[in-house]
């Protein structure tokens, strides 16, 4: 009964927000003023897991007025303390997440715990009537997909968002639009790397906390580099190609940091997509020169992209297009500048009601950028944007930036990728049910 009331209150919140948004639509030509919500309108949330990732989310959350932190939960006291310090207010703290879920005034939870805990927490949070934001990778074991699907289907009015922040990046969205409009031609290949030069461990004050703090090193809790790093890039490839893979081969090992860890310190995997496209992912912990980025290649061009920066390189070979209306090619000259130095991707869309001054300012920025004195980047950190989007989905019914299906496809890539590395065998995706 209580739960029903709770859902009703949330539904009301959504409806009220939508109504407010509609009634606030400005008259033509008038500036849109959307007031910040008052604290009583904010979505009350609790966060489960306030380690490094949880505190990063919390730091961004402190600047988002649409949400209000009511509770935090962690089983490691120093993390609990760090979480409270980060949020800077006075949330109730818990060391048992069910007690946080029991709180009726909490409408939403964010889950940033070790990977092996995700699925059960998502299922429990949905069952408790909460909206859920769960960090990637969405789940750890193949069989958990069904548990989450069932829970989500049973609670269709609750938001479920996966922490794949590139989905909320304006830059990545512009890049994907370029792909859809043919800037790369036919995509054949994606190369993704995530290279570091460190042991990828966190300092441990007492050996008894080793597995708790460095859970990423142990197979009981972690999918290692595939789950923590490749997951972002598998999703980018899925997004660019518009499909999920059909098979994967791979290798890897513990070859440099032989310190008792169980997850690989390097992995190299090749995913194959339905159209024959390949994604090659490499991750190493012994050289950071190439950092992390994705290179998306088609027969007409290449996109080199990472958080905060993207470049487009046009292929020199112009192909006969048989009269097809391809905006990106009509009348364009392929100069060495475009093929060799590349063109920065501008994360800026042209809106249909753009005023004269806005247009002039936009062109001015591009002109400055073309002279190399102004570097144009996206206006918000994607981490911030994904959290902003999450609350917009709850309050205003906006589409979820990284919903269940995207998270599922991504998690499968991680799980099968690791299986390929572990077995040395080619792993095929299960046949889709007709």
């Amino acid at each position: 009964m209580e739960k029903d009331q709770d859902v009703t209150r949330r539904e009301f919140l959504k409806t009220a927000a939508t109504a407010a948004a509609v009634s606030a639509l400005p008259a033509v030509g008038a500036p849109a003023i959307i007031a910040s919500p008052s604290p009583s309108d904010a979505v009350g949330y609790g966060i489960i897991g306030t380690g490094t990732e949880g505190c990063t989310l919390l730091k961004f959350l402190t600047t988002i007025p649409e949400g209000r932190c009511l509770a935090t939960c962690d089983i490691y006291p120093p993390n609990l303390k760090k979480g409270v310090e980060t949020i800077g207010s006075n949330p109730q703290t818990y060391d048992e997440y069910h007690r946080l879920l029991d709180r009726k005034d909490i409408d939403s939870v964010l889950i940033a715990t070790p990977l092996n805990l995700h699925a059960q927490m998502v299922v429990d949070a949905l069952a408790a009537g909460k909206h859920v934001f769960v960090e990637k990778t969405m789940f750890f074991k193949e069989e958990e997909e069904k548990q989450i699907r069932d829970a989500a289907a049973a609670h269709p009015h609750q938001v479920l968002q996966i922490g794949l922040q590139r989905r909320s990046s304006v830059l990545y969205n512009v890049a994907m639009e370029m792909i859809r409009k043919g800037a790369l031609g036919k995509i054949t290949f994606v190369r993704a790397n995530w290279h570091r030069n460190s042991d990828w461990r966190r300092p441990v004050p007492d050996p008894k906390f080793e597995r708790l703090i460095n859970w990423r090193m142990y197979r009981e809790y972690s999918g290692g580099l595939m789950a923590e790093l490749a997951s972002h890039q598998i999703d980018v490839a899925n997004w660019a190609i518009g499909a999920e893979p059909v098979s994967v081969i791979g290798t890897g090992g513990i070859d440099y940091w032989k310190d008792g860890r169980e997850t690989c310190d390097n992995v190299q995997v090749i995913f194959e997509y339905p159209g024959g496209q390949k994604l090659v992912f490499t991750s190493i912990l012994s050289n950071a020169h190439y950092g992390f980025q994705e290179q998306i290649m088609g027969d007409h061009g290449t996109l080199e992209i990472t958080i905060g920066k993207g470049m487009y390189f046009r292929e020199k070979v112009a192909k006969a297009t048989g009269g097809a209306k391809e905006n990106w090619w009509a009348g364009a000259t392929v100069s060495d500048e475009a093929t060799q130095k590349g063109i920065p991707i501008f994360p800026e869309r042209v809106s249909s009601d753009e005023g004269f001054m806005d247009r002039e300012m936009r062109l001015g920025r591009r002109w400055l950028a073309s002279m190399g004195i102004y570097e144009y980047e996206e206006p918000h950190d994607p981490w911030w944007s994904e959290l902003k989007n999450y609350f917009a989905s709850i309050r205003e019914n906006k589409p979820v930036a990284a919903p269940l299906e995207i998270g599922v496809a991504d998690a499968r890539g991680v799980i099968y990728g690791n299986r390929a590395v572990d077995t040395g065998q080619k792993v095929f995706w299960p046949k889709k049910q007709a």
């Binding site: 990732e53 949020i87 460190s198 992390f292 958080i307 905060g308 920066k309 950190d381 911030w384």
Partner: protein, 363 residues
């Protein structure tokens, strides 16, 4: 997990000439290396990292080099995260968002950043405006972001001065919001972020049980944690204001911070006259008649703010110190002779060093 921020993403490109000038060694750090003959002799670990447009270096002592490396990496991650938050070169940073929106609406600010901005404003008030985080538009007018120094006209100056001044920043501590009461205002934490980052790095080292370390940002902001084995303090050598590789005074530090400001960092010469990048926010003009200041204070944030004693000059600083008993300052001022400089050391009459700290200048 994408915690690595992109480096060198300048909104306005800094020409190589200026970058070189700003990265010239302001001073050199000597840490005596103890003999490592004993079994339990501490290990020395040193690493550097590019962030905030400068080079951070941490030297730490402990039992286990691997552990020290992990702690130092954690400190560098924190510095990167501060850079991503506080850079005014990166449009996605929180500071850029404040600068874009605060003239239109009150902007909700992350608690620690709010505190830092509040501390900066208090510093401005205490120093009568000699330190000011709204000085950015002034720097642009003098060409310091474009790399082509120029002397603005009086009209230009009076126009830009309307958009400068910490008193235009309105803080609401209860709501934790910031609002500008004039359009065109810009917060620039360049004068304080490095000292703040050094403090935060030192906090991370300390909270992981590291008791001996030196954290340096671009050699101009330094925090000394403990003292190297067998030494009573860390030894930091100042440079001669005219010759980068000639030594000036030596500062001895333990659980104390150091910050230097010098006209040798960035400047331009026009018509035989040299203009320093250090502005007097009260007049809108570069400061003259000071070559450098070095300040010792308990925390990096404080010594960064106080390094703008440079603007107050020797006499102005003397008055300030009467009410600040934990601060030491060393001025180098020009004598008029080529390469000549005078040295003035100032300290509060009631100077009082916290227990367990060392903060001294030795000629």
């Amino acid at each position: 997990m994408a915690s690595q921020s992109l480096q060198k993403t300048f909104r306005f490109a800094v020409p190589p000439r200026m970058r070189l000038a700003s990265t010239l060694l302001a001073l050199t750090i000597f840490a005596s290396i103890p003999s490592l003959c004993a079994e339990d002799a501490p290990v020395r670990y040193e690493a550097s990292h590019d962030s905030m447009g400068t080079l951070f270096t941490i030297v730490a002592y402990g039992r286990d080099a691997r552990f020290l490396a992990e702690v130092v990496n954690q400190a560098f991650d924190e510095i990167d995260s501060l850079d991503a938050q506080m850079s005014n070169y990166k449009p996605a940073s929180e500071l850029s968002r404040i600068n874009r929106d605060a003239a239109r609406e009150a902007v909700l600010v992350e608690p620690k950043l709010f505190q830092l901005i509040a501390d900066s404003i208090r510093g401005s008030e205490e120093m009568g405006g000699a330190f000011d985080i709204t000085v950015g538009p002034l720097m642009k007018t003098w060409g310091f972001f474009r790399g082509q120094g120029r002397v603005p006209t009086a009209q230009e100056l009076s126009r830009v001065m309307k958009h400068v001044g910490y008193q235009h920043v309105q803080l609401d501590p209860e709501k934790r919001t910031i609002r500008f009461d004039v359009a065109g205002l810009e917060l620039d934490l360049g004068g304080i972020a490095k000292g703040y980052a050094v403090d935060r790095a030192a906090d991370i080292l300390r909270s992981n049980g590291v008791t001996i370390a030196l954290v340096s940002s671009g050699t101009s902001s330094i925090y000394a944690l403990g003292a190297p084995p067998g030494e009573r303090a860390w030894r930091v050598t100042l440079r001669d204001p005219f010759h980068a590789h000639k030594a000036g005074d030596v500062a001895y530090l333990k659980n104390y911070s150091f910050s230097a400001s010098g006209n040798y960092e960035r400047f331009f010469t026009l018509g035989g006259k040299t203009y320093s990048h250090i502005m007097d926010p009260r007049t809108g003009r570069p400061v003259e008649n000071v070559l450098s200041t070095a300040v010792l204070a308990p925390r990096g944030v404080e010594s960064d703010i106080l390094s703008k004693f440079y603007v107050l000059g020797v006499e102005g600083t003397r008055r300030y110190l009467a009410t600040h008993p934990q601060v030491s300052v060393l001025f180098y001022t020009p004598t008029g002779e080529p390469g000549g400089f005078a040295r003035t050391f100032l300290q509060s009459p009631s100077f009082n060093l916290p227990t367990g700290s060392v903060a001294e200048f030795v000629r």
